[in-house]
C-alpha cells in the first residue's frame, strides 16, 4: 500500500447544501482540510487539500452535522509516494448527519482496444 502524501478535493454541491465546513477522516481520525476555498451551499463548489502523509486504510468525507447534503460530483486527485498522481471522479450522492462518503479509490485500471 503506497503512502498518501496529499490529495486535492473539489466538491460540486447539488440542490441542497450544508452550513458547516466539511472535514475528512483518515483511518478514523477527523482532520480539517487545508486551504479551503469556495462554498458548500446549493450550486456552490468547494475546493481544498488534505495532507495525511500516511497510509490510507480508510479515507472518508464527513457528512454534515445536521440536515442532508446533496453532492453532485466530487473530483479527487491523489499524490501517492513514488507514483504519478491520478484523478477519480465520483457521481451524485446524498450525505446526512449519520453518514460519511468513502473517498479512497485506487487508481482505475487502464483500458485499451485490442
Amino acid at each position: 500500500m503506497p503512502k498518501l502524501q496529499i490529495f486535492r478535493i473539489r466538491i460540486a454541491t447539488g440542490e441542497q447544501g450544508r452550513t458547516d465546513i466539511p472535514e475528512f477522516k483518515i483511518n478514523g481520525f477527523k482532520i480539517p482540510f487545508d486551504n479551503p476555498r469556495g462554498g458548500v451551499g446549493p450550486g456552490e463548489t468547494f475546493e481544498a487539500e488534505g495532507a495525511p502523509q500516511s497510509f490510507a486504510h480508510s479515507l472518508h468525507l464527513c457528512g454534515p452535522t445536521e440536515g442532508t447534503w446533496v453532492i453532485r460530483e466530487t473530483t479527487l486527485t491523489y499524490n501517492l509516494m513514488g507514483e504519478p498522481p491520478y484523478t477519480i471522479r465520483l457521481g451524485r450522492v446524498v450525505l446526512d448527519s449519520e453518514s460519511d462518503l468513502n473517498i479512497w479509490h485506487e487508481r482505475q485500471p487502464v483500458v485499451f482496444d485490442v
Partner: protein
C-alpha cells in the same frame, strides 16, 4: 540462595522486608497517598478512568466512480474488444461489444478442461494462459504466475482470437455443456447448502457471513457481510475458500460474482474509533 552464590553475586544479606503500606487519608494528613499511587480498584469510579462511550456507528456510503470511456454501443460489422488488466496484472478482462455467451457462463481452469468450449481451446493455445472465464459479454483470462510484464502483446493476441472465433460462427461452448447445466433452483439449493454447512461456519470465526443473492443461468451472485466486508483477506477467502467449495458442489458453475461494496457499510474492517482513543495511522 546458596552461600557460594551469595558471595559470587556480592549479596550477603537477605533483602529488607517491605514495609506495609500506610493507610490512606485526606490530602495534607499523615499517611495520605496520592490518587495515582492507589490501586486501580480504588480509582475505578474516577472520571478519568471511565471508558469513553463509543460514538453512534456511522454509515459509510460510496458514490459511483465516473469513467470517461467511449461508450460501446451500436453493433457494427467490426467486433470491438477492450482489454482491462486488473491492478495486480494477474488477469485481464476482455469486454466485447456483443454477447459472447448469453445467459450463461463457463469457467475453464486448465487447457485439458476446454473440451466443451471451442473458444477456450483456441485461447489456451496462447502460451501463458492459465484459466479462462467466459460470462455474457466478457472473457476473463488469467495468465500463469511466471508470466510478467505488460499485458498489451498477449492481450492483442487474445483479442484477435476472440474476434476471429466470433466471426467464424463457431459455438463458444458445446450444446452438451449447456444441456448439462442444472436448473437454477437446483443450483440455488446446492450452493445454499454449501454456504450453510461449510462456508458460513468457517467465516463465522471472523464474524463474517456469506449470503446468496441470486442465480442466473449458472452464474451466482453473493455478498460478503459482517467481518468479511472490507476485510483485506476477503479476496483470498472468496477465491481460495468460497470458489473451491461452490465448484466442488456444482461443477457446472460458471461465474461467481461478489456484489459486496467492501468500502461501505456500518461495519467496515477499519471501524470508527471512540473519541479519546488513539491508534496509529
Amino acid at each position: 540462595m546458596p552461600n557460594w552464590l551469595s558471595k559470587l553475586l556480592g549479596s550477603k544479606e537477605s533483602p529488607a522486608p517491605v514495609a506495609p503500606a500506610p493507610p490512606s487519608g485526606a490530602a495534607g494528613e499523615p499517611g495520605y497517598i496520592p490518587l495515582t499511587a492507589r490501586p486501580l480498584s480504588d480509582r475505578a469510579d474516577s472520571p478519568a478512568m471511565r471508558r469513553p462511550e463509543a460514538p453512534p456507528s456511522r454509515k459509510v456510503v460510496s458514490a459511483p466512480v465516473l469513467v470517461d470511456e467511449e461508450e460501446m454501443s451500436g453493433w457494427s460489422s467490426e467486433i470491438r474488444i477492450k482489454a482491462r488488466p486488473d491492478l495486480g496484472m494477474a488477469s485481464c478482462v476482455f469486454l466485447v461489444d456483443r454477447p459472447v455467451l448469453q445467459g450463461y457462463s463457463t469457467w475453464i481452469p486448465t487447457a485439458t478442461d476446454a473440451t466443451e468450449s471451442p473458444l477456450a481451446a483456441e485461447l489456451f493455445q496462447i502460451p501463458g494462459v492459465e484459466s479462462i472465464l467466459i460470462h455474457e459479454m466478457t472473457v476473463t483470462v488469467t495468465r500463469h504466475p511466471s508470466v510478467h510484464g505488460p499485458w498489451e502483446p498477449m492481450a492483442k493476441e487474445i483479442g484477435a482470437k476472440i474476434r476471429a472465433h466470433l466471426l467464424s460462427g463457431q459455438p463458444v461452448v458445446s450444446e452438451a455443456f449447456l444441456a448439462s447445466i442444472p436448473p437454477e433452483e437446483e443450483i440455488w439449493r446446492r450452493v445454499q447448502q454449501v454456504i450453510d454447512l461449510e462456508v458460513n461456519p468457517g467465516v463465522a470465526a471472523h464474524s463474517g457471513v456469506i449470503t446468496l443473492l441470486g442465480v442466473k443461468g449458472n452464474t451466482v451472485t453473493i455478498s460478503m457481510g459482517g467481518g468479511c466486508q472490507g476485510c483485506a483477506a476477503s479476496t483470498i477467502t472468496l477465491k481460495d475458500g468460497i470458489h473451491r467449495a461452490f465448484r466442488s458442489a456444482v461443477p457446472e458453475l460458471g461465474a461467481i460474482l461478489d456484489d459486496t461494496d467492501h468500502a461501505a457499510g456500518t461495519n467496515p474492517f477499519f471501524k470508527e474509533l471512540p473519541e479519546g482513543m488513539r491508534s496509529y495511522a
